[in-house]
């Protein structure tokens, strides 16, 4: 049969593979690719291509194009393109970034990090506005519009006067407030040196108290996403811990014997028409070895089921029915929902002598779904 043939074929294929492996056997992993070789791949970049993509601005101003913009032009452009998210006064709308103010907050809880209070380089502002803003239409601002917007942002942060004109020439005149506010990563000295030590394993503390509980509980609905709700629970009443264990056991754990029985899977109840049909399609898998339905369905072990709902029983052409269905056909009995549900619940009782080898569907939701599913296919 087909299975035997397949197995023979697989056997042949594995024999070939084994032989190949033996030939190559013992070859160690290749060394890492050589660096000093050129492969001659790629092509020379055109100057126009480099000009189009290489638009980043370096901290010293290299890369800035010819052009200029003043504070008041900047305000107009800003209101048109930026204010809907960042606010008329760069104060930020909703969760969108605040662009101005926040001076002297960096050492506070929740520092306000703005272009004025935090950004160390003016080049970053120009570069980001020019390349990445406005959000949803990046790269559409002209050079002069960019100069103007940046001039307005500087003015909003009290860094220039209202007659200021930003250009490649005036760029280096601007002093950013937080230019000296950064240190290069010093974790190696400040932290690693101290934290590379054999850690404590026993009696590392005397007592441990729970000082804070989760602020939010998070629900994870089946459709995805999450809902976070405030956690009303308090730390009071929780045990503390010592080397002896917890100070008390609030509620005894269930013993293994009392633990709830393992759950069995439940079929989700069909909630709407689509879900009902989807569920019906799944239930139909029990029928599909013998019956076909849908485009091009033909008789198999059982008759095809296109248009079965509302049709006279035993009426599919070319199918040889049992005597019971032949009689039902002669009587003019029709497949209504009620008849179908009764049949599929207990086929052998409903129709004595039916050739259909099927025990029946036990669940009402399965019966509802399969009839709805079958009804969705016309002749």
């Amino acid at each position: 049969g087909g299975v035997d043939t397949l197995e023979t074929q697989i056997g042949q294929v594995s024999a070939t593979t084994t032989a190949a492996t033996l030939v190559a056997g013992g070859t160690p992993a290749e060394p890492a690719p050589q660096i000093d070789k050129r492969y001659g791949l790629g092509r020379a970049a055109h100057p126009e291509e480099i000009a189009a993509w290489d638009v980043d601005i370096l901290p010293d101003g290299r890369g800035l194009p010819e052009g200029s913009g003043d504070v008041w032009t900047g305000e107009e452009v800003y209101v048109d393109y930026c204010a809907s998210c960042h606010g008329d006064f760069a104060e930020g709308v909703d969760n969108w970034p605040v662009l101005a103010g926040g001076f002297d907050t960096l050492g506070n809880k929740d520092p306000v990090k703005t272009v004025g209070s935090y950004w160390p380089y003016l080049s970053t502002v120009w570069d980001y506005v020019h390349r990445s803003m406005p959000f949803g239409a990046a790269g559409t601002l002209t050079v002069d519009e960019t100069y103007a917007i940046v001039a307005y942002l500087l003015y909003s942060n009290d860094m220039v006067d209202d007659d200021f004109v930003l250009s490649r020439e005036t760029f280096t005149d601007v002093q950013m407030h937080n230019a000296d506010g950064f240190v290069v990563d010093d974790r190696a000295e400040a932290e690693y040196a101290e934290w590379r030590a054999e850690p404590c394993m026993e009696n590392c503390k005397d007592t441990v108290e729970i000082t804070m509980r989760s602020v939010f509980l998070v629900e994870t609905p089946p459709e995805g996403g999450s809902n976070s709700v405030m956690n009303p629970a308090k730390v009071e009443g929780l045990p503390s811990f010592t080397a002896e264990g917890p100070s008390f056991i609030p509620v005894a754990a269930p013993k293994a014997a009392e633990a709830p029985a393992p759950e069995t899977a439940e079929v989700a109840a069909a909630s709407d028409g689509d879900a009902l049909l989807e569920h019906g399609e799944k239930v139909f898998r029990k029928c599909s070895a013998c019956h076909a339905v849908g485009d091009g369905a033909r008789n198999k072990v059982g008759p095809h089921l296109n248009g079965i709902m509302g049709r006279t029983m035993g009426s599919v052409e070319g199918f040889k029915y049992s005597d019971g269905f032949a009689d039902a056909n002669a009587e003019g009995k029709v497949w209504t929902t009620e008849e179908m549900v009764a049949f599929l619940a207990k086929p052998k009782s409903y129709m004595k002598g039916t050739k259909m080898v099927f025990a029946g569907l036990k669940k009402d939701e399965d019966l509802e779904a399969i009839t709805a599913y079958l009804a969705s296919f016309s002749e």
Binding site: D54, K109, E202, F216, T220, G224, P250, V251
Partner: protein, 389 residues
């Protein structure tokens, strides 16, 4: 009595199942439909510039399936087809070059498993225990096997100036034009220009068709939809390396260029989304550990909030800059526990407590929070995100 699942003939034992090709590209079985990435809506202004979280509570082993690996976009995930893909190398090079996608597949390639962690992972916890779920506290991480061309091969192809004081600026093709500066030493070390993950093409949300892989360094540098590599004589100091991804310390100064992700670990089960349902008796404590500096050498677990520690069993020996699974197989007597894990890497670095981190940095850093996490497990087996003294 006897279990009807055994004594009665079941549908699945009697009726035929689904044929081949029912779903030409398979999806997880419906019973696992809860194992998905999830976002927290109020965290960001718009889902287009946002993040979601890997369901690490429900995964095992170390490899993250692409379909549930966290997403972080600054201007949304874009559809960029391979025929439309171009990669430019310019700046301090002998010959500026443009590669097509097909060109990249003709360079020698390597395969490596690396973790990618967002610098903001666990960032909310600076302010104390916040969201109740390891997916939300630690889910900005994934771990995949990448296939790609070593960046040094492409730099060499263009005749780049590879002296140690040079930088490589990398930039994406999406509307955020995210760009980061990488010092030459790192660029020549282990950075990959990757086009496959876990054996298949990258997903759109992870930078299809080509992303940068910067092993051990913060996820923001793993530029997606990589379109340009520029050799420069200084750091560009782009928005993402100045106004973001810098760490404000207690005195208001900030650390910059904090690229490495320090050693970190967390217990994924039991955890708030994975309560103990079986009562007292044998219990498997399972967790993840990683270090951007090298391999995980050891993980210790405490059941009493850090008074006593015992060394956990590693699922297998740690790989460099990749997730390592650890286990503690225990008999649970049903008493409450304060579960913690503490990772050590092969540099000898020991994962710090929240207290140690706050002492050094204050509470406003946002990024690079690699503190020891505590779960309070009550006697019913329910776990909660807590802070301890």
């Amino acid at each position: 009595g006897p279990d009807p699942l055994i004594t009665e003939l079941q549908d699945w034992t009697s009726y035929t199942g689904v044929g081949v090709d029912e779903t030409p590209y398979g999806m997880p079985i419906s019973f696992e439909s809860h194992v998905v990435r999830r976002n927290v809506e109020w965290l960001t202004a718009s889902p287009i510039s946002s993040i979601n979280f890997t369901p690490i509570h429900a995964l095992e082993g170390t490899i993250t399936p692409q379909g549930c690996a966290f997403e972080r976009h600054h201007s949304g995930a874009i559809e960029l087809a391979k025929p439309d893909y171009r990669l430019m190398i310019n700046g301090l090079v002998d010959q500026p070059l443009v590669f097509t996608y097909d060109d990249l597949e003709r360079f020698p390639r390597e395969n490596h498993v690396y973790f990618c962690e967002c610098a903001a992972n666990t960032g909310m916890e600076w302010a104390g225990a916040q969201l109740n779920g390891v997916q939300f506290t630690h889910g900005m991480i994934h771990n995949m096997e990448y296939t790609g061309v070593p960046l040094r091969i492409l730099l060499n192809e263009a005749g780049a100036d590879m002296s140690a004081d040079k930088w490589v600026y990398v930039e994406g093709a999406d509307a955020s034009s995210n760009g980061r500066s990488i010092p030459m030493e790192k660029a020549l070390d282990d950075v990959l220009v990757a086009f496959k993950a876990n054996g298949e093409a990258l997903r759109m949300e992870h930078g299809y068709p080509v992303r940068l892989v910067v092993p051990g360094w913060e996820g923001n540098m793993w530029v997606k939809w990589l379109r340009r590599i520029e050799v420069t004589d200084m750091a560009v100091e782009s928005r993402e390396e100045t106004s973001k991804y810098t760490d404000v310390l207690e005195d208001g100064t900030a650390r910059k260029w904090t690229w490495e992700m320090d050693a970190k670990s967390v217990i994924t089960s039991p955890s708030p989304q994975m309560p103990i349902k079986h009562g007292a008796g044998p219990l498997v404590i399972s967790g993840l550990a990683w270090s951007g500096h090298g391999k995980i050498a050891r993980v210790d677990v405490s059941k009493d909030g850090g008074i006593t520690w015992e060394t956990a069993r590693l699922g297998k020996q740690g790989d460099t800059k990749a997730l390592t699974r650890f286990y503690l197989d225990m008999e649970w007597d049903g008493a409450p526990m304060l579960l913690q894990s503490r990772a050590m890497d092969d540099t000898g670095y020991v994962q710090p407590t929240k207290e140690q981190l706050r002492e050094k940095r204050g509470e406003n850093s946002v990024y690079h929070n690699n503190c020891i996490q505590t779960w309070y497990v009550n006697s019913q087996g329910i776990a909660e995100n807590v802070e301890v003294s």
